[in-house]
């Protein structure tokens, strides 16, 4: 009889639990964060619209959890040296590690990132609605996975889109954006009316801008590849020569000073109606749609990048970044940092991030009609992402050195100091040296990119 009463009470408690559902047993951020209240974490990010948006969101997290989030926003170019020095000194100052996809292998190799198994296996920390499957698989793999292990959660979805000024094109007699690279050049020529108006702006400053955004972009688009299957450089090829020659020929249709342009100058050139077309990351769309920064809000056209005539392929440039957890931070800081990353890139916060200027790697937001109205690039981004080349740039530790070689020689060719053939020959020789020294040709190092 007594046992029966106990059983009834237990069943009752269970039923009440099921009825009230979440409130009794469910995971909440507040509960998960209780042990970490008062902990300070430090976020790094690049000075770009998507990161400023996250910074604007973070006070809400602080209010919910009592975890303090400090920010250090810096130019892209300064981020890697700071993070690497942090790893080398084992300081653990930047508890959140901003990892461009090209730095992933290097950061993991330095032991700077905590494998996410550690957090995902902890039911106190993991939000049951995390839903890893909702991230674009390409981004989850490309931005955050190395050697089969997850080292972060994907941040902004970066893919190159073609942006153009519809009115400028219409005045030049075009009703549609260029379909091929050949048309792109012809239209650029027709749009150019120096010094008032130019066809295109190119982000070809002598650093990663040149390497990623244009040199390798066209190299792949024209049918080339950076490395073959044994990791031998493949820059000096007929496709490579055609691509770099094409790139140097575009300079005449760009504004004065285009050889020193970075992302900001390129985006502003379109926003100020100085040029008719640019090819830029998806994350740079928000400022083009902001009337305070852009004169072409109503005339902004967005399309998928042009295709190669030979191959008929469109190969948008693939980029992006993830947030990982610094392995040299304390255990408490690591857990608190994980909670912040999980919250910032959660399904719950993704719409808010979009509204503030973010481009999440979450699939579901790209289907929300309300968001499509404020972010007209959504459909193009979703179409472009599957076409993007995941090995556009390798993710191993030697890539920054390779990027440097490509940037310097392509830039010298762009300003006419050397011929495209000479530039590509130098690239091949120097990249071979880098790969050889790293041990890729002797089997010392695994052929993983």
């Amino acid at each position: 009889m007594r046992h029966k009463k106990v059983l009834i009470v237990l069943v009752g408690v269970l039923l009440i639990g099921i009825a009230t559902g979440s409130s009794l047993f469910a995971w909440t951020l507040q509960d998960a964060a209780k042990p970490y209240s008062g902990v300070t974490i430090k976020a790094t990010g690049w000075a770009r619209p998507d990161v400023w948006a996250l910074q604007k969101m973070s006070p809400k997290f602080e209010k919910l959890t009592g975890i303090k989030v400090e920010w250090e926003i810096m130019p892209w170019i300064e981020s890697r040296p700071k993070e690497l020095l942090d790893f080398a000194s084992k300081a653990g100052e930047y508890t959140i590690v901003t990892t461009d996809l090209i730095w992933l292998g290097e950061f993991v190799g330095m032991g700077g990132l905590v494998p996410f198994d550690k957090f995902l296996g902890n039911s106190n920390l993991v939000d049951p609605n995390l839903d890893l499957d909702d991230f674009f698989a390409k981004n989850l793999e490309g931005y955050s996975t190395w050697g089969g292990k997850l080292y972060g959660l994907p941040g902004s979805a970066y893919v190159h889109l073609l942006y153009y000024n519809k009115e400028m094109l219409r005045q030049a007699g075009y009703t549609r954006p260029p379909d091929t690279w050949s048309q792109f050049k012809k239209m650029a020529a027709k749009l150019t009316n120096s010094p008032k108006q130019y066809g295109i702006a190119l982000q070809v400053r002598r650093d990663e801008h040149m390497t990623c955004d244009w040199a390798l972009n066209l190299h792949w688009a024209f049918g080339g590849q950076l490395l073959d299957e044994k990791f031998y450089p493949q820059m000096l090829t007929p496709e490579g020569i055609e691509a770099l020659t094409y790139l140097t020929s575009l300079r005449q249709y760009g504004p004065l000073g285009v050889a020193a342009f970075g992302h900001d100058e390129t985006v502003m050139a379109l926003a100020q109606s100085t040029v008719g077309m640019i090819e830029e990351w998806s994350s740079f769309c928000p400022p083009l749609l902001d009337p305070e920064q852009s004169l072409i809000v109503d005339d902004l056209g967005i399309s998928i990048v042009p295709k190669s005539i030979k191959s008929g392929k469109r190969i948008p440039v693939f980029g992006g970044w993830s947030w990982g957890v610094n392995a040299y931070a304390s255990e408490k800081e690591q857990d608190a940092t994980y909670l912040f990353i999980q919250w910032a890139f959660s399904k719950e916060m993704a719409p808010a991030w979009v509204k503030l200027g973010g481009t999440p790697s979450r699939k579901f937001v790209y289907e929300i009609e309300e968001l499509k109205k404020i972010a007209p690039y959504f459909d193009i981004l979703v179409k472009s992402l599957p076409l993007a080349n995941p090995i556009h740039r390798p993710r191993f530790a030697e890539y920054p050195a390779i990027s440097d070689v490509i940037a310097i020689n392509a830039s010298d060719a762009f300003i006419g100091k050397i011929t495209p053939e000479e530039a590509l020959r130098r690239m091949n020789v120097e990249i071979y040296g880098i790969m050889s020294e790293a041990g890729y040709y002797t089997g010392k190092k695994e052929l993983v990119q």
Partner: protein, 297 residues
């Protein structure tokens, strides 16, 4: 006790002296000598900060030999030499000229002096940002100003032929006042009797400058020449902000190359080897200056 009764060679007085000096010596060792020794040590090793799997094997003089065999090193050295030839003579000529003018009682001299010194007080990073904006071909004030005289816009930072001159102009703008200040102080310290006697003897203005002013300026100018030469060799911030060494390799000074090796490729072995070579080069050039130009008055 030692202070009161000891002679200079008294042991306890010597000990106190050593104790008083010790903190300074230790700090100097820590911030000056130790990093230098570590750089020398690193220059004899392969040391990639971002590739711990390679370890730090001793490679003897290999980093130095591969640096000498690297055409890019010589190229950046050539760019640095050209930059030096563009900046130092202009800074010295203008500095001396302005100092001579400022030594006269000209109207508003005090105000002009303060204005001239202003560039010295601004950090190179801010100077780089300001000039980068001013050099902007579309929106920059320089092309706007030239345009009002009908001059076509100039591609200050993107043109292969122009970019090194553009950064040299900024360097001259910033450092000419420093030389002017040193020269002005020296000119004002020259006894006026020399000038009066020269005028009575009927000496021309050039003769007065050549035989009175210049000899008094010489010792100070040699010191400034040594300082500025070392400065130019290590010029980094301003050029990095304005051009990042580009376009192409047109403004790639050797200091930018060292930075790229050290903080982009993280090849600290080569970066340290080049730094040590530059240190030696600066010492040698200083000695050459002293032997060639230094004269007692």
């Amino acid at each position: 006790m030692g202070f009161r009764s000891g002679s200079p060679s008294h042991p306890s007085r010597v000990n106190v002296g050593i104790l008083l000096l010790l903190p300074t010596v230790l700090i100097l060792l820590f911030i000056g000598i130790f990093p230098l020794l570590f750089a020398v040590y690193t220059s004899f090793h392969t040391y990639y900060l971002n590739r711990p799997e390679l370890g730090q094997p001793f490679v003897g003089f290999n980093n130095y030999l591969t640096t000498f065999a690297n055409p890019f090193f010589w190229k950046t050295l050539g760019v640095t030499g050209k930059f030096m030839l563009l900046t130092l003579p202009a800074e010295f000529l203008l500095g001396i000229l302005v100092a001579v003018i400022m030594s006269k009682n000209i109207l508003g001299g005090q105000v002009i002096r303060v204005l001239l010194i202003t560039p010295l007080t601004v950090t190179p990073v801010v100077i780089g940002l300001i000039w980068r904006l001013m050099y902007n071909p579309q929106f920059g004030v320089i092309n706007f100003f030239l345009g009002s005289f009908g001059i076509l816009p100039i591609d200050w930072l993107g043109g292969a032929q122009v970019s090194l001159y553009s950064v040299a102009i900024v360097d001259i703008w910033q450092w000419m006042p420093f030389i002017m200040l040193i020269c002005l102080a020296n000119i004002l310290a020259i006894p006026t009797e020399y000038f009066e006697a020269a005028v009575i003897d009927g000496a021309s203005k050039w003769a007065i400058f050549r035989y009175i002013t210049l000899p008094f300026l010489a010792p100070g100018l040699v010191a400034v020449l040594i300082i500025r030469t070392a400065d130019v060799i290590r010029t980094f911030d301003m050029v990095y902000i304005i051009t990042r060494g580009g376009p192409g390799t047109t403004t790639e000074l050797v200091s930018l190359y060292v930075y790229r090796l050290g903080f982009k490729i993280f090849d600290l072995g080569h970066a340290c080897a080049i730094s040590i070579l530059l240190l030696f080069a600066t010492i040698v050039i200083s000695q050459v200056y002293l032997r060639l130009f230094y004269r007692e008055i």
